[in-house]
C-alpha cells in the first residue's frame, strides 16, 4: 500500500498514477481482510477499484494528457507541506496511543472474528446508525440529481 501511494504522487503520467491508486486500494481491501472484515473488503473492491477508478480513468483518458505531461513540475511550497504532514502524523500517533478513551465503548479495539461481518454491518447500519444511513443516501441522491442537472441538454 505504501508503494502504491508513493507511486501515485511521483509518476508523471496520470494513467500510471491511476493504476498505482488501484494497487493502493486493493492493498486497502486486504488490510480490511486482515481486520476480520471480509464484507467491507468485498465492497471496497466492487465500489472503489471497480467503479470509482473506472470513472477516474475515463476522465483521464478523455482529457488531453500530453500537454500536462510536458509542463514543468514544481513544489515551491515544501515548508507548508512539511508542517501539515507533521501535524497530521502527530494527530494520528496521538489517536493511536491514547485513543481508547476518546471513542465511546472502546470502539477502537479490534473486533473478534466471531459474528459474520456482513450480519454485524447490517445490524449496525439499519439499527443504531439508521439516521446516518438515510442522510448518506439522501446525499448521494442530491449528487446524482446535481450531475443530471449539470449534464443535461434541455428539459
Amino acid at each position: 500500500m505504501l508503494i502504491g501511494g508513493i507511486l501515485v504522487i511521483t509518476r508523471k503520467n496520470p494513467v500510471h498514477s491511476a493504476l498505482a491508486l488501484i494497487v493502493a486500494l486493493l492493498a486497502q481491501a486486504s488490510i480490511y481482510l486482515m481486520l476480520y472484515a471480509p464484507f467491507v473488503a468485498g465492497v471496497q473492491i466492487i465500489l472503489y477499484a471497480g467503479g470509482i477508478m473506472v470513472l477516474f480513468l475515463f476522465v483521464i483518458m478523455l482529457v488531453n494528457v500530453e500537454r500536462s505531461m510536458k509542463e514543468r513540475q514544481f513544489n515551491s511550497q515544501w515548508v507548508v507541506g512539511i508542517i501539515a504532514a507533521t501535524a497530521l502524523g502527530g494527530l494520528f500517533i496521538a489517536v493511536y496511543t491514547k485513543g481508547n478513551n476518546i471513542f465511546p465503548n472502546h470502539a477502537l479495539r479490534m473486533t473478534t472474528g466471531e459474528a459474520p461481518n456482513t450480519q454485524g454491518v447490517a445490524i449496525m447500519l439499519y439499527g443504531q446508525y439508521m439516521f446516518a444511513f438515510e442522510i448518506a443516501s439522501l446525499l448521494l441522491l442530491v449528487a446524482i440529481i446535481g450531475a443530471v442537472v449539470m449534464a443535461k441538454k434541455r428539459i
Binding site: 471480509p38 468485498g42 473492491i45 477499484a49 475515463f58 483518458m61
Partner: protein, 428 residues
Amino acid sequence: MHEIIQYISSYLTSDKTPGAAGNMFWVLVYIMLVFAGLSVAVIAMNWLERKILAHMQVRLGPMRVGPHGLLQPIADAIKLLLKEDIVPSEADGFVFWMAPLIVVLAAFTVFVVVPFGPTHAITDMNIGILFMLGVSSLSVLGIVMAGWASNSHYPLMGALRSSAQMVSYEIAMGLAVVSAVMMTSLNASGTGTLSMIGIVQAQQAQGMWFIFKFFPLGLIAFFIFAVAMVAETNRAPFDLAEAESELTAGFHTEYSGFRWSLFFLAEYSAMIAVSSIAVTLWLGGWLRPFPNFLNGAPWDQAFCFIPGITFLFLAAMCFYNTMRMPKHPLFRVQTIGLAGFGVVLGLIGLVLFVPAVSVRVQDIFWFSTKVAGFMYVYIWFRGTFPRYRFDQLMQLGWKVLLPMGLGVLILTATVGLWPLIQQTIWHP
C-alpha cells in the same frame, strides 16, 4: 502405497472444502483441476461456437482439420502462438503489457469460489457472491487500459464504450443478485448467507430452485440477470464494442498473437463464470432436477445413471458419424480418429456407471450440464439476434433493466416478509 490410498480416500469423504479444511496440498490439486477443466472448456467452446453457429446458418463449419473439425481449436492455438507480436510504436509499453494480464487474472480468479458440489469448491468464503461480483468488475479496468495503451482512435472508443456498457449492466446484475440472496433468508433463523455453497444449500432446504420461487418474481430476476450477464461479457447481441464491422474489433484491435488469445480466453472464462453465478443463484447449483418432487432412493438411483447415459449417447453419435464418413482413402485418418474419439467417450461413460465414481461425480456433472446449457444459449443468442446500437444498449440498461430490478427487489422483499407484515398490521 497403502497409506497413500488411505490418505486419498479418507480425504475424498470429508465434509469440508479444501480451503475450509486448511489443507494446502488439496487446495493446489483443486486449483490445477479447475484450471485444466476451464482450459478444456474454453477450447471446446471455440469449436462448439463455430459448429453451432454454422449449423444455425445452414452450413457446416470447420470440417477439414480433424474429423468434423474437432482439431480446429488446436490449429487456431498454434497459429496464434506463432503470430508476430506487434506493439504499436507510440504505445505505452507497461500498460500495453499489463492490460491482457489484468483481464485474464480477473476472469480466472473468480473460479476460486465456484461451487461444483457441497465440498467441491476450492474454498468457500462467506462473502462468495460479493467476491465474484467484485473481481469480475476488475476486468473493466483491464479493458480500459487496453484501449488507452494502444494509442489509436478505434481501440480507445471501443474501450470506453465497452467499459461504459459493462459498468451500466453491473448495476442491473447486482440488483438481481440481491433479490436472489434475499430469498436465502427465508429460513427458521431469518438470516441469509452470501456464500455460494450456502445459497445452494438454502435452495435445497427450501425445496425449490429460486427461479420458481414466488412465481414470477424469481423468473423475472433470472431474466434480468441473464440479459445483464450477456451485456456484461460483451457478447452478441451487445457486442458493438468489438464487432468487426463497427469499430474494427474495438479495444483489442492492436493486439496480435498470444496477447489476443489472452483476451479471448478471458472472454470465454468470464462467460463461464457469470453462467456459474446464474446457475448457483437460480438454477439450484449442483442439485439434480426435481430434488423434492421426485424424491426417494429409486429416483436418486435413476438419476445416477444419467451421466453415464449422456457419455454413451455422445459415443453413439460419434460411431454413427464414423459410418457416414466418405469412403475415400484420403479420409482414412479422419475416420479412424473419429472412431477413436468415440471409443474414448464410451469408456468415460462406462467408467461413470461404476457406483463409487458416479456418486461422487453427480454434483459436478449436474453443475457442468447446467453451465453447458447456458453456453448453448449464449451461442444461440449470437446466431439469432441483431446487434443493439450503442444508445439503444445504454437505454436498455438504465431505463428498462434498472427499474425492473428495483421493482423485483421491492416485491421480493415484500412477499418474503409477508407473514411478518401481516402480523405487524393486524396484531399490533
